[in-house]
Symmetry: C2
């Protein structure tokens, strides 16, 4: 049974979302994983707009519960930060102790992007905290986004991939996605190798 990876990212909002999901699914297969994509299942109809949104929430959470890991696309979305739905999903999978990896198709890190948001108008306060004109402090931790996401992945030994995609391929370029798949496949294969070293084999190898 191949390990199942939940595909989290704002590409679900693209007009060609299904096409991108098919490409991601094919890449997962190439590395021996099964992709679980939001949008794969039909959502039961609802009487209200909110009811429909709740139904999608339920289906997506069930998909995550059934998955062994996640690759989260943290490319900035409608602003300087990652898609909030993707961040929720990454937190959800981190809490479950699943395999995690994340990528961004924007080379500028979290601090640089926040600096850009303030047009560079950032000053240090008495405690050394960097703050914008609105008084809000900036995280300057050499990370791709807020420390909960980047830290949640890296502390679990998960891979973070950064690739500077072309502006017109921000949500479709799969270079960094594939880098995550390679890292997850290596991790899985080395785990298999460790599993292969059963106590009796270790004993046998000491027989000579």
């Amino acid at each position: 049974m191949p390990l199942k990876l939940y595909i989290a990212g704002p590409e679900v909002f693209l007009a060609n979302a299904r096409e991108v999901m098919r490409a991601k699914t094919a890449l997962c297969r190439k590395y021996g994983f099964e992709a679980i994509c939001p949008g794969d299942l039909d959502i039961p109809p609802s009487d209200t707009r909110k009811g429909f949104g709740l139904a999608i929430s339920r289906v997506d959470e069930e998909m995550m519960n059934s998955a062994d890991g996640v690759i989260a696309n943290l490319t900035p979305f409608r602003g300087i930060a990652a898609d909030v739905g993707t961040c929720f999903e990454l937190g959800y999978m981190c809490a479950q102790g699943k395999l995690v990896a994340a990528y961004t198709n924007v080379a500028a890190g979290h601090y640089e992007r926040t600096l850009g948001y303030y047009n560079g108008q950032v000053t240090a306060d008495a405690d050394g905290h960097k703050r914008g004109p609105d008084g809000l402090s900036l995280e300057d931790f050499d990370m791709i986004d807020n420390l909960m996401m980047h830290g949640g992945v890296e502390r679990r030994g998960g891979h973070i991939a950064v690739h500077a995609a072309a502006a017109d391929a921000l949500y479709t370029d799969l270079t960094a996605f594939e880098e995550c798949l390679k890292a997850l496949a290596e991790k899985r294969n080395s785990a298999h190798r460790d599993e292969g070293m059963r106590p009796e084999e270790l004993d046998a190898s000491n027989d000579d």
Copy 2:
């Protein structure tokens, strides 16, 4: 032992973060809860900026693991969406099956804010999906933010509070925060009442 609530929100970035946290902690106590606030513990020093960010990530996750629930401040932050770190934390707590509640200090919903992001230039495609000039679809589900957050809370029976705060009190107005506390206290108290109805008591009440 009072239930412990993790305090998630972008107010950690305020210059007076500690003051706001003290006010939230006092309100939690008023309703019989214990507040667990990011920033309460000293973070061990690190040789690198990233190392320090990773240390905060670890401490915050440990705080969440020790908490019984979360109140997430989903007020839009540096753009049209909630703070991404808060969204990660809400997903993390939803996955653990903890008590959840969320609020926003902006009355305009997710759809209205996204419409504003596109200056109203939104059209429906052949399938009826509303899309911005960049082709990205808009969620129109009568929710305060992306459906994973709003749905994750509401599907768990968690309270969503909306309050139109003054512009200069966007991250400090605690009206909606207190509404969440009231809802969580009611839920806790009704659970206690249910627990009080032990089988033997039910039998006794049927004796007459």
